[in-house]
């Protein structure tokens, strides 16, 4: 059985952070889908190397880290699609 606590709080924190990711028109760097695919693969590898953190025995992964990574991706998909608003650029 996977414990719900780390999943919920990890997802929530990741969602808050992921919702702030925006495409910046002023920047020459464009972060496409490939960046997020690499990120999720790296997060899964890292979670496997961490093991069930902290001293849980529910799965071979650090569930909180996976939940945070999924939260970042979901937050980016829901709130992070628009570019940075123009009034912020003027500031």
């Amino acid at each position: 059985m996977v414990y719900a606590g780390p999943l919920i709080i990890g997802f929530l924190l990741g969602f808050i952070l992921g919702s702030r990711i925006r495409d910046n028109p002023e920047s020459e760097m464009k972060f496409t889908t490939s960046v997020y695919i690499i990120f999720i693969i790296a997060a899964i590898i890292l979670a496997y190397l961490f093991g069930p953190f902290p001293w849980y025995k529910d799965s071979p992964f650090a569930n909180g880290l996976i939940a945070a990574a999924i939260g970042i991706i979901v937050g980016k998909l829901i709130f992070g699609r628009k570019p940075i608003p123009s009034e912020m650029e003027e500031e």
Partner: protein
């Protein structure tokens, strides 16, 4: 900054944020917790600020967002403390654990953290402290970067005069 660093910094910052989240989640039984995890997440944001600069940042960290997050963290901490005070008479009483057996079972179940250790409100306190710390440390760096736009005191005065007009 070099292009290689700009390519690397954003995905690395995302991974560091996940690690900070994990540090917050393990705070009730491992070294670490809200402050340390929040500092790690703030470190990821600061990494991006240093590499991309304030204007080309891939994260949209507005003043309203920082104020809202810090307020949510502070209010969450106060709420958890007052909940303990109202239910048991002790400020910040751990309602999810209830070592004195003075709280009704349904309140204990509400504040119970769903993992095998049943640490009560401690993980929630770590979470709200993490929010406050990540905002606090990020805000300091944002303030420093905004001051960096000005090279001399005269430029600051000119900008202030323009704002007054």
């Amino acid at each position: 900054m070099s292009t290689i660093l700009k390519l690397f910094a954003f995905p690395a910052a995302l991974i560091i944020m996940c690690y900070g989240t994990l540090t917050i989640l393990g705070g009730h039984i491992t070294p670490g917790g809200g402050f340390q995890g929040g500092a790690i997440i703030a470190g990821a944001l600061i990494f991006c600020f240093v590499v991309y600069g304030l204007k080309k940042m891939p994260f949209h960290i507005s003043h309203d967002f920082l104020a809202g997050l810090e307020s949510a963290g502070a209010l969450g901490f106060v709420f958890l403390g007052l909940a303990g005070l109202l239910a048991s008479g002790f400020y910040l009483y751990n309602l999810g654990v209830d070592i004195y057996n003075i709280v009704p079972v349904f309140i204990k179940n509400i504040f119970d953290y769903p993992d095998p250790l049943h640490a009560g409100i401690l993980p929630y306190l770590n979470f709200v402290v993490g929010l406050k710390v990540l905002v606090g440390l990020s805000a300091v760096v944002i303030a420093f970067l905004e001051f960096k736009e000005y090279d001399t005191d005269e430029e600051i005065e000119e900008d202030l005069i323009e704002e007054e007009d």
